[in-house]
Every structure is written in structure tokens, then in C-alpha cells.
Amino acid sequence: MRLALYREMTLNSLRTSLAFRSEVILFLFGQLLRLFVQVYIWRALFANSTELSSQSGMITLSEMITYSVVSTAISVFATNDVIFRVSRKVSSGEIAMDLIKPMSFRSVLFCQTLGVNVYRILFELLPLMMVSLILFGVHLPTLANGLAFLGLVVGGLILNFLITYAIGLIAFWYILVWQVNTVLDGLIRLLSGAFIPIWFFSDTLVKLSYFFPFRLIYYEPIAVFLGKTTGWANLLGLFAQQLAWIVGLLLLQRWMWGRAVRRLVVQGG
């Protein structure tokens, strides 16, 4: 019964996405462009050397190109508009409609995001991967690494959803959330390893990156994908870190939500 509700919510959001096909072509083009830039930057940085030393041993150019491709693939899912959905709903009063739905506000948003992501797999990820496989040689992981990678990506995406949702809730207090979003995007760009892998960081930056959950969304899964992080102890450690952040964020949200709903005053409607 409940499950059917969630399924409908997800499918609905999938159908809405299907209506904006031209936007998606542009988005896809944008992603490809960014990937191209990254590949060219790494080619230029490697110049004539075949491999460079890093915090995780020697790195070859083709490993770096694979890194960029996988990072782009993750970013297809990690760029969501949860923050703006929440703030739009709060500022327009639409949130009242969500509050009377027989499911939690967070589940509504989660299903909607899931629906968009199903769509993205079909129309963004698959084309992107096909182009990348043709144009750039991409390393494939061993089966074990690949499975661990998938698990970490799922964990990372849940983490990403919870982070954006928590920041979206700030809209109850401060409506110009896009500025907070800029800060978040900046931190992710710098400290998640989405562009520069943490293994090329200086020691201070590496330390700094441990204070934020962002490395668990991009860098750590990709390092597993490339076989730079192996061994049960290390992998379990990563999953444990993800879990700890997820639990922490859930607690934070319960606290924020309790205060937010009490503040909410919807005008008219």
C-alpha cells in the first residue's frame, strides 16, 4: 500500500522529466563539455610524463581520464535541485499540499529525486558513458571493486540527498537559499575530489577534506573503482564513515524539521 504510493510518486516525477527533453540535451552537452575540459587539462598537466607521484602511489594519465569520466557520471546524479525544490515550496506555500500528503515531506522529495534519477540514467548517463567509452580509454574495475564502488556510490548519493535536503530546510528561516547553495557547491568543488583527486592535494588540504562528508560522494568511490583503495578493513571503514554521516544528518534534520514546521505560516492558499 505504502509502497504503491512511493512508486506512483517516483513515476510521476519521471513523467514530468520526460516533458523537458530539450533541456536534457543541453545538460548532456554541458556535461560532455566539462568532461572534455578536464581531460584536456589532465593531458596538459601530465605533459610528457606517463605517470605522476601522488598520495596513493603512481598515477597514470589514463587512470586520471577514467577518474574524470567516473566523476562526471557520479555528478549526473549528485547534481539535484532538492535545495531549490524545498525553498520554492516554502516561498510559494506549495509545502502545505505536501504536508497533507500521507507521507513525510522528506519521502516526497526523495521519490521525486529518484524519479528524476531514473530518467537521468536513461537519457544522460547512458549516452555520456557511450561517448566516453568511444573517445577515451576507460579502465574497468575488477568485479569486487566494481561492486564495492556501486555500494559506495549509492551511500554517497543518499548522503548527498540528505545534505542538500538539510540545506533546503534552511529556507524556513532564510529564503535566499541559493547563496547557501553557492557555498555548498564551492566546498564540494574544492574538497570532494570531483575535479582534483584528493591524492594530488597538499597535506593540509587532505586534512581539511576529512572534516567534510563530500569526499565520500566522489573521491572515495572513484579510488575504489580504480583499485587505489583495497582491503576489507579500508572498504568497511568507508561504509562506516558514510553511515555515521547519514545518521548524523538524519538527527540534524529531525531537529530542524521539528522547529521548521512550528515556524511555518502559509498565507492564503
Binding site: 563539455l33 593531458r43 596538459a44 564551492g186 588540504l205
Partner: protein, 267 residues
Amino acid sequence: MRFLKLYARFIPIYFKSKTEHGFGFYMDFVGFALNHVVSYFVIWALMSRFQTINGWNMYEVMLMYTLNMLTFGIAAVFFFFQMTDVEEDVHMGTFDSLLVKPINPFVHMIIRAFGHFFLGDIVIAVGMLVFCFHKLGLSLDFGSAIAFIAVLLGGVLVQAAFIVISGSACFWLVRSRSLMNMVLFGIRDLMDYPVSIYGTVLRGVLTFVIPYAFVNFYPAQLILNRNDDALFASWLPYATPAVGLLLFAIGYRVWNAGLNRYQGTGS
């Protein structure tokens, strides 16, 4: 002259309507600017590990980023929100109000809004420009100052032309926001690093077809006196002001063609 007088009337009204939001208004300056601060950190993180990219060092790369940001900021103050407003008007069917006024719609479009958002960018860009000049040991005498201003204006015109052209697409497509974003925040990102890192085809496209290389790469070559990595022809950096004027003229033609095409969306 008449336009300046009108501008002096329009802008205070615009600011009055914006400052009503109080605190949020002042935060506008911070929001965009933060993005750039992060970009400098990214360049720093990357270049402190690798030292050079295609023979350009950290401060030279930062200078290029700054030129891109500065020329875009200046152009965006006068064109960016103005063009997104036009798109919104065309979409809502309220664009006719611009056509019935006794001013050239292009001028009216420019003077009815002001991109205060981008003033923060410009402040940071000027600060970083001074910083990079200092770190690179550059100084301007009278002649080079004139040349610097000329290439900067050329860059501003190129940026303005791209805003006008991509924004004018709304006359054909009704919605042009995603196209604008693609051109102004997607393709323009290609210029964050020296254009010489790309293959010949992309270099050619960025020089002759979508001449974004003239907003920072060629001006930087001129400012830094780099003769060793000239692309295509060694005189190209000097062509920046001419390219800017030409492209802006094309932008104006596209806008006019769009106006002729505009038929309203009903209502």
C-alpha cells in the same frame, strides 16, 4: 545624451525596488563572488601541485581567469539580467510594452535594469588583477596602459555580444534560459585554462567561430608579452578590440532580426 538622462532616472528606481529586500540585497554581492573565490582556490590547489600548465604558471592562469571574470562582470552589469528580463517578457507576452515606447528597444532594454549582482565580481576581479600584476612583476607605462584598456574593452564587447546573441534566441525559441546558461556558464568555462591546451580544432573554434579566446587568452598573451606560444598568427592579440566591435555589431543585428521575428505569444 537623452539616454543618459533617462538612465539617471531609471537606475535609482531600479535600486529602490531592489533594496526593499534589505539584507538579501547586500547578500547578492556575496553569493556570486564566493563562487569565484572557490575557483581561485581550485587553481591554487591544482597549480601548487603541478607548477605549470602548458608553460603558464599559477599567477598567469589566475590572471586569465580574472580577465574572463572581469570582462564578463562588466558586460553582465549592462546586459545579463536585461536579457533574462527580455526572455521572461517574451515568454509571458509582456514584451510588447518595450516596443511601444519612443526609444530604441535595445537602449530601453539596457537602461531599465542594472546588474548589481556583478559588482561584487568586479571588485574581486580588480583586486585579483592587482595581486597578479604584483606577483608577476608587471607594471603599466602609458602605452601599455592604453593597450590594456583597449583589449579589456574588446573582451567586454565579446562577452556582451554573447549575452545578447544567446539571450535573443528567445525570439525564436521562446525559452532561451538553458541556452544562455550553456553558452555563458558552460562554453565560457573552456577559457578557465589556456586555450593552447586544446587540440587544433577547438583552438580554431574558440578563435574564429565562438571567439571566446579574445576575452582572456589573447589579451593575456599581450599583457604578459608571451610571443613563444602564439596560435595561428602572432598579431591576433592586437585584433581583440576589432573582434569585440565586430561581434557586438553582429549581436545587435541578431537582436534586430529577433525583434522583426517577434509576434507575441498571445494574451
